[in-house]
Subunit: 379 residues, 2 copies
């Protein structure tokens, strides 16, 4: 049940249309005055720190009621703070510093798709280069699939490269995924992703802070990036060249005190350069797979990654002296304990004791020709 | 000038032959009693915490004087604490905890080659997998060459893979390099590296704690690894699978409070698995190239790495509003300021002001058809 009045929702639709996504002046005034009062003041052409003049060009033919109805006919809904499905984690944006003039809690979110936004409470952002490599695509898909299987909704930006691979990984795991886009939620950008967006709109959600019809202007990507970071419990950057836009998402995740994770790649790959720079600087945690990611975003103690081992070796449990002896035992042609003692540089008596112990655990065997390693010791 | 008496040197030759490299009991007693006194006690068959019995097999035909002479004829010298060229940084091993029963300051080092060991005061260890990939080889060579050019002697283990690539990088930079080996310094192991060892022995140094003729037993590699770490101001691991031996070298560098550095690789490459595990655990610093390494091993403030940038973009210096406008300016067909204002969702007056500013810095141009981006803005 929503506690939002129709008047407030319409005010938010109008204000959302008047400003640019995440424009700090607008989101700040909404937080300060409330949407209904702010809308009234703007209609009365109050100055409001210059905001009135800035939005003048858009005020003319604005009919919030009609916009909301038209959008609903297109399958869009406008989710605002106070709605039951509002992702309350976006409240963290209230205190977070403005970056590039974009910041604050969104006035509302246009949503297309069946997934309720409160399902994003444990969502994971997987982002990265548009110009991704096959390597990056594979790793992003694996991470997204693993996270999706563990119940995290995968959030990304619907772009070429890593974004697409992340959405695909979640879809392959049979899970809903969310594309937060910089254009209107009714638009398809890039158009080559029409089929993917259609699938996401049918099973997950396409989310935008920009009003329906809005073009994917570069400036809107910055505001969008903060939403991807703020919606998610953590952000994984799979590939990002130096100064890549996805590093902006990572930066926001850091501002919001969410785990920021980076997947390393070959140091010779420019597509991993930005990730390596941040791993070096220590403002990303290195992850190599979905399991690593789950360890970092899960409540303490869940999803701990088992330390990886080669096949456990019996040798590890030997004493240093026993190891010294076994190193001197031949693989093929058996040798006497005196010969083994010479090779090992140890006394014969000591070597005989060690050989008996090694025989007990099945690492050496004795026959008429002397001692040699067992098949077990040779593996 | 050495302050070491001939008697002490011979005592060290003898003790070195009696024990195994780095055996803690032996190095501890040398530190406690001094080499001359310890040798006397062993000849008198004092028990010495069981050491006497342990070395019994090797005591029989030991003639230190003859061993030293024979080794010198082979071009080997025995460098001991107190010699002018003794690498005093090995003194750090005195306090360092024993690992796998190997530890302590070496009794002496057998050396083949013209490089004095005091030239290792700022040496850099570059180690890694024997089963290296082409990628690892290339990165190891680059790091070694860069370090060598900056005056750091490159130390490695002479093995296949990364070790070889590290030595080769230093040689390619025209610099001497040092191979610290697990067998006698007179031996060539692996034999496929005969030409490389010959070159190192002619221009740098082959160093071993094991006496001449000693075989490359597995247990001797552990003692050898501690020397590589202790000789160097820092250790770089380029590729290492989970549980690779080169991680033992890194572990020693950590114990000795020397920087431990790791080069990431594809997370899909098993050869980088051990490095990633340690980078994740935070006990290695991520490095991507020789310059990164120099920054970490150089005195504070030297060799700072410039943050890498894409081509600096004029766009970065624009105000958010100017960026919003330039995003709406067409690339090819010029548009009027009213059309640009509609696309940008801004007032016409404001857009005109921004366009003039953008024209001043050369990012947009006006002709009869209207405004469009300049060639500069399109790059």
């Amino acid at each position: 049940m929503s506690v939002v009045t129709h008047e407030e929702r319409l005010a938010r639709v109008a204000l959302n249309r008047l400003g640019e996504p995440g424009e700090t002046k607008m989101t700040g005034l909404v937080a300060e005055l409330g949407p209904v009062r702010l809308r009234q003041l703007l209609l009365a052409e109050s100055d409001l720190d210059g905001l009135s003049e800035e939005v003048a060009a858009r005020r003319d033919d604005l009919d919030a009621e009609r916009e909301l109805e038209r959008a609903e006919r297109q399958g869009l809904r406008f989710v605002v703070p106070g709605d039951a499905e509002w992702p309350t984690q976006l409240g963290d944006l209230l205190g977070a510093g403005a970056l590039n003039d974009r910041g604050g809690v969104p006035i509302g979110l246009w949503v297309k798709g069946p997934l309720r936004l409160d399902a994003l409470a444990t969502s994971l952002a997987v982002v990265g280069a548009r110009a991704a490599t096959t390597y990056g695509d594979e790793v992003a898909s694996e991470i997204a699939a693993t996270a999706a299987q563990a119940g995290h909704v995968v959030v990304s930006g619907g772009a070429f490269g890593i974004d697409r691979a992340a959405h695909r990984g979640a879809v392959a795991a049979g899970a809903p995924t969310v594309a937060v886009v910089a254009c209107g939620a009714d638009r398809v950008y890039p158009s080559a992703h029409a089929v993917m967006f259609e699938h996401i709109a049918r099973t997950g959600a396409i989310v935008s802070e920009a009003p329906p019809g809005a073009a994917p202007l570069k400036i809107r990507f910055l505001a969008r990036n903060r939403l991807i970071a703020a919606l998610s419990v953590g952000t994984v950057v799979v590939e990002a060249a130096i100064r890549s836009g996805s590093l902006n998402t990572a930066h926001w995740a850091g501002i919001l005190n969410r785990p920021v994770m980076g997947v390393p790649g070959p140091v010779t790959s420019a597509a991993s350069g930005g990730v390596h720079e941040h791993l070096r600087a220590g403002d990303m945690s290195l992850v190599t797979c979905g399991a690593d990611v789950l360890e970092l975003v899960s409540p303490a103690g869940e999803h701990l990654v088992e330390p990886a081992w080669d096949e456990a070796t019996l040798r590890d449990r030997l004493t240093p002296r026993q190891r010294q002896v076994i190193d001197a035992v031949p693989v093929v042609s058996p040798a006497g304990s005196d010969s083994i003692a010479r090779t090992a540089g140890l006394g014969v008596r000591e070597v005989q004791g060690a050989l008996t112990a090694l025989q007990t655990v099945g690492l050496v065997e004795i026959n008429r020709g002397g001692w040699r390693l067992t098949a077990l010791a040779r593996t």
